[in-house]
């Protein structure tokens, strides 16, 4: 029987072709009454919110009150995970920093990058050493 084909799925490497921003949704919750939400309220009514929205058009921003609770930023990622950051008592610039942090992040857990990791699908150019090639046996 001649060769058969095996059904698989081609894998994606984000950024090799098109880059998909991993944060798809950002929820901004505030409270009209709580004192800890003053910074968040001023963030929402200032020009920082339109700036955030324009800088990241790929992220859908949802603003809704959460009465009698601290203000919270909740980011939803494409891998299904969420990250929430409580922004109580922060100023609006700090809240902007937190928003940037969330939007630029991926959905995975925060990981420390150790060493110089090279991840590639391509084979090495010179090949992996083999004991059976290269004439070593001819001593």
């Amino acid at each position: 029987m001649p060769v058969q084909g095996i059904r698989t799925v081609a894998t994606n490497q984000n950024g090799l072709g098109a880059f998909i921003v991993q944060c798809k949704r950002l929820d901004l919750h505030y409270c009209d009454w709580y004192g800890s939400s003053r910074g968040m309220n001023s963030f929402l009514t200032s020009e920082l919110l339109p700036r955030l929205s324009r800088m990241h058009p790929q992220v859908s921003i949802h603003i809704s009150p959460r009465p009698n609770k601290h203000p919270v930023l909740r980011a939803h990622y494409i891998n299904g995970r969420e990250k929430a950051v409580c922004v109580r008592n922060l100023e609006k610039e700090q809240i902007m920093q937190k928003c940037e942090l969330l939007v630029q992040s991926q959905g995975g857990k925060n990981r420390k990058i150790r060493g110089r990791n090279v991840l590639s699908e391509n084979e090495s150019v010179r090949g992996i050493w083999s004991p059976f090639h290269g004439g070593i046996k001819d001593v």
Partner: protein, 438 residues
């Protein structure tokens, strides 16, 4: 440390402590601090006294207060001793216990009229069976809020037209010699009346120092007709408590085909008596005549007293019109009763509660006007309201603003799941949101 002598006396320990605290055998104070025997006890004792048989020989009379504190070394000691002897033998506690006991074993002592009931038929019922919320409403339950009809006026146009309408209506009442306390309620003006209202100008007469209305042709008649109107649009004033209709006045009005609206005899007497001072100045509200019943209610007779509850009325739509000139705001409204009536009517029409100091602060309506519009130019307080006004936020394509808290139901609705959940719950007869009232 109790002596055996006290133990043998048969006194209750409360009495013993009481005596110890006071340090004497006859301490002052109420003999029975709980006010003596109870109602049933007293009735039984009275019945027994009436029958006059089988009395307990040493039954004491009901003494509210004990004798005063004995002075040391007084000849009253003898009487005290007698009483204390009585008390020691027959303490009130013992009496209570004895008198409480039902003399079941003595058939002669039983009340002949008394038959012990086995069921509850015919017995007097105390309290409600079931939940109080299930009882049908009584007239006392009907609540007519003062400012429920309208939404609060928010724009300058609405405020101005409400003030104008208030002044026109109340001054019309004054000119028609109706009491200023006449309840105007909600009057749905027909277009012609509304036109007349809007074209009525308010002027100040410097000679008599009064507000004077200048109607257009026939405007006054239309206004007064509308105020006292007999048409079906008129409802009972929701702002006054429902009093009994005094139908005596109604035929008087009906028979009177006069358009000058002579008030019924009762009122006209009052008015004439006080006309010298100022029409409508000191009208006393006697509570009998509060409104004029329409023909419908007449025919219904006693009908439904709750028919025109505020809940059954359709939501009122404010009829705001453009006022030609706002000069009347600065005109003085004298006397105080007129101003008060105007402000009260304005409060009804705008839906705002006007604080009392503003009524007497100035003679004109300017303070009222600025008070009613105090929030008009201020920025909205809620963040969502402020955001929904900004065009550079609304036009952002990837921003969604929700004015209220997002609930799981909202998420279900977005996903299209909610309608299925609701249909399933309905089919099973379960409450969709919250608890059902069983």
């Amino acid at each position: 440390m109790q002596s055996t002598r006290d133990a043998s006396s048969g006194l209750p320990w409360t009495e013993r402590i009481r005596r110890k605290m006071w340090g004497s055998d006859n301490p002052p104070g109420l003999k029975d601090p709980y006010g003596g025997p109870g109602y049933f006890e007293r009735r039984r004792q009275e019945a027994q006294a009436e029958r006059g048989r089988g009395q307990i020989p040493t039954e004491p009379t009901i003494v509210e207060h004990e004798p005063a504190l004995p002075e040391p070394g007084l000849p009253e000691m003898s009487t005290l001793e007698e009483e204390s002897a009585q008390n020691t033998e027959h303490s009130h506690a013992q009496d209570m216990m004895r008198s409480r006991s039902v003399p079941e074993n003595d058939p002669e002592k039983e009340d002949l009229t008394y038959v012990q009931a086995e069921t509850w038929n015919g017995l007097e019922q105390v309290g409600l069976s079931g939940h109080w919320s299930e009882t049908p409403p009584t007239p006392a339950d009907s609540f007519r809020p003062y400012l429920a009809a309208f939404e609060k006026a928010s724009s300058w146009k609405e405020i101005l037209s409400a003030l104008h309408q208030a002044v026109v209506e109340v001054v019309t009442l004054r000119d028609s010699r109706l009491p200023l306390t006449y309840s105007l309620g909600h009057i749905a003006y027909k277009p012609d009346v509304l036109a007349a209202l809007s074209t009525t100008t308010i002027e100040f007469d410097y000679h008599s120092k009064q507000i004077v209305l200048k109607y257009k042709d026939g405007g006054r008649r239309l206004m007064v007709e509308a105020i006292l109107g007999d048409d079906l649009q008129r409802s009972i004033s929701p702002y006054e408590p429902v009093a009994e209709t005094t139908y005596a006045e109604v035929p008087a009005l009906e028979a009177n085909g006069d358009t000058t609206f002579t008030a019924p005899d009762q009122e006209s007497q009052e008015l004439r008596s006080q006309e010298a001072d100022f029409p409508g100045q000191d009208i006393e509200y006697d509570g009998t005549h509060t409104f004029v019943a329409t023909k419908e209610e007449m025919n219904n007779g006693n009908g439904d007293q709750y028919k025109n509850n505020i809940e059954d009325l359709p939501p009122q739509k404010r009829t705001a019109y453009t006022v030609t000139s706002a000069d009347f705001i600065t005109m003085p409204l004298e006397p105080l009763e007129l101003r008060f009536a105007v402000i009260k009517r304005a409060s009804q029409l705008t839906g705002h509660r006007i604080p009392d100091p503003l009524i007497t602060a100035r003679q004109s309506l300017s303070s009222i006007y600025s008070y009613l519009g105090r929030d008009r130019d201020s920025p909205p307080k809620k963040v969502a309201d402020r955001l929904l006004i900004k065009p550079d936020v609304i036009n952002l394509p990837n921003v969604h603003i929700m004015p209220r808290r997002e609930t799981p139901v909202d998420k279900d609705k977005r996903l299209g799941r909610w309608k299925i959940i609701e249909a399933e719950l309905h089919s099973k007869g379960l409450p969709v949101l919250g608890k059902s009232r069983v």
